[in-house]
Structures are given as C-alpha cells and as structure tokens.
Amino acid sequence: MVKTPVPAEENVAPGHMGCPGCGACLALRLALKALGKRTIMTVPACCWAVMPGVFPYCSIQIPVLFTAFETAAASASGVRAALDAKGQKDINVLAWAGDGGTLDIGIQALSGAVERRDNIIYICYDNEAYMNTGIQRSSSTPIGAWTTTTPVGQTRAWKSEPKKSGVEIMAAHRIPYTATACVSYPEDFVKKVQKAASIVGPKYLQVLSPCPAGWKSDPERSIQIGRLAVESTVWPMYEVEDGVYTVRKPAKKVSVKDYFRTQGRFRHLGEKDIEEIQKTVDAEWELLLKKETMTARK
C-alpha cells in the first residue's frame, strides 16, 4: 500500500448534492480530513451551502453554522471569540467560502478578521465564478473566461479583467500564513491545512477547485485539469509564511493553451488572445520567482 499523509478519517459523508467531478466537494473532504472532528465551521451562501443536503440531513459531520453571504470571516471571528470566552482552546475554527463569498462580497469581513489577527483558518475554494447561482463572473474569474455575465456570443464580451489574487491581498495584510493549493494535489493541500492549523492567528488558503458545470469540462477530467492549471503556472502553487515566499516549481511545464483546451469556457479564444494571456502568465510567474528570491531567509 502507498503511504499517504492524507488521514483516513472522513468528515464529509457521501450523501451530498455536489455535481459529478466537483472539485469543491473534494476540497472540503480533504480539508476536514486534515482538521479532524474538533473543528467548527462557518459556511456562507455558496455551492457548499446547498451541497450538505436538505434539512434534516447534513452530510458534513462537524458543527456547521450556515451564515449570510458576506459574513464567513466575521462569523468565524464570532465563533472564536465565544470559544475564547468559554476558555475552550483546542478547537479549530474554519471559515469555508467560495471565491465570490471571499473576494467580492466577503472581502471586507475577511480583511477585518485578518487585520485583527483573529485565530481562524479561512479556506476559499476557488471555482472561479458564482456557481451556486449559475455561473456569473466573480473577481476571481480568470481573464478570457466566459460566464453568463461576461457573455461571448457575437459580442465577444468575455471577461477582460485579470483574476484578483486572494493570496497577495492576504500577504499584504502581513498574515502569518497564506498559500495556494489545488485539489489535484491532495497531499500538498492536506499538509498546508495542517500547517495552518498549527499556527496561531489568521491563516488563508485558496484551493483551486475545478467545476465541470461552470468550466464546461468533462467531470472525469477535473483532477487532470487542476494539474494542468498548476503545470501551466496559470495557478501557481506557493506559500507565504511571515512574508517568506516558497514556490513549488512544476516538474513539467505546459502551455496556457494546453490548459485552456480542456475547458469550454475558453473555447472562443483565438491564438492571439491565448498568446497575450500566455505572456501575462509568464510575467506573473517570473515576478513570483523574484519574490521568492527577494524574501528568502539569509
């Protein structure tokens, strides 16, 4: 048997309402393996507010507080404050939100919690749009992507703005620990969640979670697509710990085109458009490597 750092413990039961090939589903399963039963989580409006099932059923087997869309972080702060008030110290407080709930409507609460140094783990599962409401753009939708509010048709009005970087925003808060992750690399993700749990103060992870319905991709290829995102450095894997960048370099590098080809949401892009995006991706990657060099501990 292959040895894996991923705990066997399951805290998400199979009876959930996620779509086939849902990356977000895998993401929570892994996160709760890493955090274990002594965890309380807050979930704002997002796919994961629906996926646990209809009352009286709930497939998440730890205490879950469903909260308003913009309040994942503030709610986690409230839970932590209550635990502190009661003197309960050995419990993880997890805020679990989508990219819209994190980087759009919830960013004020997140920024507040992180600046206050509240002892919470915030994980944004990033499927790069509002999927619960049927694929509208978020600020985390990548440039070039089709969504229903960045329609393509004859108008070619796909998203023209670059993806907002949650991890860089968190790094600018001088957060103790922040990292990107991807469900296609479960060991890596689990280790990052465990590291986050071991640090006191705010922690922020953003885990890329392919969404076949929203990305117009084959459900059975979600894991492969996540790998291509990392290997093309469209989704670079890195950690920032007390300001120090550590970048995971892909063993093999693929092109943006290789990644885009797997998804219908990029289908409309021509060679020129993809070339442009490739240039930005390369430049961002160079910049990231420079940050790693610049922040390396002497």
């Binding site: 409006a45 009352f55 913009e70 409507i105 960013i107 409401t133 960045t150 004859q154 009005a157």
Partner: protein, 395 residues
C-alpha cells in the same frame, strides 16, 4: 406590438431596456439571476446602450445606482431576499437623496434556514424606507409597471425610488405571452431623465451634507412625505396614460375583482390573486357574493380605496405571505388601520399563508372564503390564523 413568450425576469429586463436605463448595477441572486444575465446580454450586444456595473455586492449595487442617478442617469437594478436586506441602508439613502432609482425585487424567503421560494418578508421589511412598492400579478404587469414607475418616480415633484416585485418562481420563472411595446411607444410615453439638480461641474453643489435639529432635516422629511402622497394621484394618472397607449391597466393601487356587490372579500398582494380569481368565479357560479381586492401598491398605501371598499362589504380577509412577529401580517395591520376611523367597519381577519413558498391552492382559498362566511354569520372567530400549518410528527 410583438408578443413574446417570456417569464417575469425577462419582462423586468425588457422593461429596463425599453425605458432606456443608462446605468445598471446589479448582483446575482436566485431567483432574480436571469434579470442580471439578460441585461448583461442586452448591454453586451449593444441592444441596450447602457453602462453595466458588475458590482461585488447588493450594497454596492444600490450605492452605484444612487450615485449614477445623482449624476443624472436613469438607473436600474434587481435583487431578491438577502440582497434586498443587504441594501437596506442604501434604500433609505436613495429616498433621502431623492433619486428615482427603479428596481425589481423577486419576493423570496429570508434565511435562515435557506429558502429560495416565494415569501414577501423581504420587501415588506423595506416598508419605512420611502420606496414606492408595487406587487405584480402577471408577467405583463411586471414589464408595464417597470416602465410606468420610471415615469412616476422621475416626476420633478416626486423624485422617489420605486420597486416592483415578482413572487419567486410563480412570476420570476413562469412563462407567459407578453406584449412587448415598441420602443417608439415607450419613448413617446417616457421622456428622458434630465434632473435639473445633479452632480455638475458647471454648477457645483454638495449633496447630503450635515443638517442640525433646528435646521432643515425635519422639513426635508416632510417634503418626502408630501411627495409620496402626491404619488398616489400620479400613479393613477400615469396608468391612465399607459392605458390610452396600450389598452392595458391594472386597476390602480387596489385592483378589485367582483367586489361591487360582494359580502365577503379576500385581500392579497402578488400572484396568489390569479388563484383567488378562479375561486371567486366558481363561488359566484354557486351564487355566493365573493370578491377579491388585490393590493397592487403597498407604498403609497391605498387608504382611500380600502375605505371605500370597507364601506360596502361585510367581512374582509387579508392574506399575508409574510409576518411581523409580535403583531400580525403587515398587510393585515395596515388594512385594519386604514379602516379604523370608518363609522361602520367590516370585520377583518388575517390569514397567514404561503410562507416560504408553500403553495396557496384553490382549496386553501376556498377554505378562507368559507371562514369569511362563517364570520359574517357568527362573528369573528379569531383575529389571525396561520393556514395549512403542518404539525411535526411525534415519535
């Protein structure tokens, strides 16, 4: 005029397009999302010459609309439930700033627990924000009301925001044949929005600065109260104009059906009215004198119309798809208070129905009329009653 098979959400989007809204700032939420998507399509395709701001929350949507209107643009947004609740602060702001923003709200239950189904708690909770509130029964009415409400709200002596509602799914997602008025017709009806007072570098002013208790705050509020009272008459007049152009009208703020000689009347706002009409016809065939009064406009409240009705009928049942905890159904309490100073008041009973999208069936409505006849014969049994409640299973 062309007929199209569309649902309430598309009707709302067509309304905004035909009204030539210039700035749209909106945020998706079930079951309103199709409005946002359709408007995004209209703008992307150039069919609508507007700026579409894909904001990051409803709070920002309303703030952007208020600011755009302050800069002299015609604005449109749409929301539902949690989104409307998040806007609440800015709803008051829109009124105080006298910006005639037009919005469509899909009536959806409020959380927790999450529910996306029909319930009017969201919009009724905005009662005191100073927005005109319209409740539509049909897809056609939704489209027409969006256009009409621009005309009312933008009148220089009114300058107030307004929203039109659609019951979740019953109206937002039900397809009906709808007459889409021509652009020329709407252009003839609705002049461009050109407010004299606006953010203007040629004529700089500060908007909404500080006012002391001995100064003008109270008077500014009084002006809003007067404007809202004027809106009563204006709503009727604008509907009359619309009727002359299109042949369509909706009965003013209180839409009455077979009430002329009615003994008992049900009052309601929203889509359940269509079901009630069917029941009224059936009961009429049996010789029972029943009627319906649909509250189409909640703000301004149709006080006079309700009094006129109250003078004629014996018993009124008010249906509420929402509730004010610690009091009663909000439509009920308002109807009751409108009737209070009448010499001979009808009995009024509150039926709390359809909360969280529970179906209001013909059978349910039939039971309510039976109850009203019992009240007519034997007096009021109880002042309010929750209808079709389930009892938790024991065991």
């Amino acid at each position: 005029m062309a007929k199209k098979l569309i649902n309430g959400n598309y009707a709302a989007a067509f309304g905004a397009k035909l009204a030539r809204a210039e700035v749209i700032a909106a945020y998706p939420i079930t079951p309103q999302t199709a409005v946002v998507e359709q408007v995004a399509d209209f703008v992307a395709s150039g069919e609508m010459k507007a700026r579409y701001v894909c904001v990051e929350s409803e709070h920002s949507a309303m703030a952007a609309c208020i600011a755009a209107a302050s800069a002299g643009a015609r604005t449109f947004t749409a929301t539902s439930s949690q989104g409307l609740l998040l806007m609440h602060e800015l709803l008051h702001w829109a009124t105080g700033a006298r910006t005639p923003v037009v919005m469509v709200n899909v009536n959806r239950a409020v959380a927790p627990p999450w529910s996306v189904w029909a319930d009017q708690t969201d919009s009724i909770s905005q009662r005191d924000t100073g927005w005109m509130q319209f409740y539509s029964e049909s897809t056609q009415e939704e489209l027409d009301t969006v256009i009409m409400s621009y005309k009312v709200g933008e009148s220089p002596d009114i300058m107030l925001p307004s929203f039109t509602t659609e019951d979740a799914f019953f109206l937002s997602h039900t397809f009906e044949p709808v007459e889409i008025p021509s652009q020329e017709l709407v252009d003839g009806f609705l002049p461009p929005f050109r407010p004299e007072i606006r953010l203007d570098v040629e004529n700089p002013r500060g908007f909404g600065s500080l006012s002391m208790p001995h100064q003008w705050y109270m008077e500014l509020r009084y002006l809003i109260a007067e404007a809202m009272d004027r809106a009563r008459e204006r709503i009727l007049r604008v509907e009359q104009e619309w009727k002359e152009l299109t042949g369509r009208s909706y009965g003013g703020p209180l839409d009455e059906y077979r009430t002329e000689d009615a003994d008992v009347v049900l009052m309601n706002a929203g889509t359940a009215a269509s079901t009630i009409r069917e029941v009224v016809d059936n009961l009429r065939r049996e010789g029972k004198r029943v009627g319906l009064a649909r509250i189409r406009c909640f703000r301004p409240f149709p006080t006079e119309e309700i009094r006129a009705l109250g003078r004629r009928v014996h018993t009124i049942g008010v249906m509420d798809r929402c509730y004010t905890f610690g009091d009663g159904g909000p439509f009920f309490t308002e109807v009751k208070s409108a009737l209070y100073n009448l010499k001979d008041r009808p009995a009024v009973k509150n039926f709390v129905v359809g909360i969280g999208g529970r179906d209001i069936t013909m059978k349910t409505v039939g039971k309510l009329y039976d109850n009203l006849f019992r009240i007519k014969a034997g007096g009021l049994d109880s002042e309010k009653e929750w209808i079709d409640l389930k009892r938790p299973e024991v065991g």
